[in-house]
């Protein structure tokens, strides 16, 4: 007959403990070092003036190109001023567009990263719940097995007791016993 199982036989191995420790340390490191960077990028993508640089450069380039050599002909021209304003307006729009596109790109990137983390957290919780369910079911099954074994043992004992009692005089079921009707 085998000996009673010991809890120590089911303890975590050294490699299992090391895996869990390293994972926890890495997780903590990520939280301390990388998560603040993501929140920093979140703030920067919301507050930084992305368009300012692009618009400033667009304005400067336009004016440098169109006003660096003033001429008498241009000064006398009727529509030069309106053309210059149109060019500057278009360039500024392009500057704004580039800035806004870059800002949205960064913002979407932050959201994707954050959502990726949230998805990992949700699937992690789901895995934790699965592990717990499996464990609980295994415990319940083990308990049920014990209960079944106890029942079987109880049935055997009861049968044996009644048999023995019936074959002996007196008692409950034996000759002249309580239930014999004698």
């Amino acid at each position: 007959m085998s000996s009673k199982p010991k809890a120590s036989e089911y303890a975590a191995s050294e490699s299992e403990k090391a895996t869990a420790s390293i994972a926890l340390a890495d997780k903590q490191y990520f939280k301390d070092k990388y998560l603040p960077k993501l929140t920093e990028l979140r703030d920067r993508s919301s507050t930084e003036n992305y368009q300012g640089v692009a618009r400033g450069r667009a304005q400067a380039d336009t004016m440098q190109a169109l006003t660096n050599r003033p001429s008498l002909a241009a000064t006398r021209s009727v529509d030069a001023s309106a053309d210059r304003a149109a060019a500057a307006g278009s360039q500024l729009l392009q500057g704004s567009l580039q800035g806004l596109a870059a800002q949205r790109g960064d913002q979407v990137n932050v959201l994707k990263q954050a959502r990726g983390m949230a998805a990992d957290a949700t699937s992690g919780l789901s895995r934790a719940a699965k592990i717990a369910t499996t464990k609980n079911l295994q415990f319940a099954q083990a308990k049920q097995n014990r209960r079944n074994a106890n029942f079987a043992m109880g049935s055997k004992l009861a049968g044996g007791f009644i048999d023995k009692d019936k074959n002996s005089p007196g008692g409950l079921f034996g000759e002249g016993g309580y239930f014999s009707g004698g």
């Binding site: 939280k31 304003a85 149109a86 500024l92 979407v108 959201l111 919780l125 079911l137 319940a140 029942f151």
Partner: protein, 198 residues
């Protein structure tokens, strides 16, 4: 202590300092995990809380930006400003050339052309800005929909897991109940059989 002795002490100090620095990166500082299941559940729950705390409002803000009009608004402001800037340049250039020999009629025509140009630029730039704004907003919407699909899939998968686990537990409970019932019936049968010698 001689010069060599001082050097030895200094180099030992440097060695100790570097060892202390290395200790920060030593594996002996690893945390111990007594209950991996609880740790896993706590960390993932914490991660989700972190997401809610740090990024939920940012996400809602970004979702609200699909109807952004900042480019159009900016273009509306830019057109008159650029018209004024350009008219000022024109005026300064004319002053540089001592009036550039422009008659009053020519000056008036320049002003009118500038005003017309300003109005045309305003309309043109705002129209272009509308097109560009639409493309930026659509691009954002596309990205958000893609993110949303991921969120939806993940949520459905989580719900599916929860439902499967619940069904598994209920089946196990029913199974245990029926086993208990059959045990009781078996016990009763055994007792009765033993009494009546069946």
């Amino acid at each position: 202590m001689g010069k060599e002795g001082i050097l030895v002490v200094a180099s030992l100090d440097m060695y100790d300092n570097s060892r202390r620095k290395e200790d920060r990166f030593s594996i002996s500082n690893l945390p111990s995990v007594s209950n991996p299941q609880d740790t896993f559940a706590n960390i993932t729950r914490g991660d989700y809380e972190d997401y809610l705390k740090n990024f939920r409002s940012f996400e809602e803000q970004l979702i609200g930006m699909t109807n952004d009009t900042s480019l159009i608004d900016q273009a509306r402001e830019d057109a008159p400003e650029q018209a004024k800037l350009s008219a000022d340049i024109q005026r300064r250039n004319a002053e540089r050339y001592g009036g550039a020999g422009l008659s009053n009629a020519q000056k008036q025509e320049q002003q009118r052309a500038n005003q017309r140009g300003g109005a045309l630029n305003l309309a043109g730039n705002v129209n272009n800005a509308r097109v560009e704004q639409r493309s930026v907003n659509d691009a954002l919407l596309k990205e958000l929909i893609s993110v949303g699909q991921g969120v939806n899939q993940n949520a459905l998968s989580g719900l599916g897991d929860a439902s499967a686990m619940s069904a598994q537990r209920q089946a196990a409970y029913k199974n245990a109940k029926s086993q208990h019932h059959s045990n009781m019936v078996g016990l009763g049968g055994a007792v009765i059989g033993a009494i009546f010698g069946i």
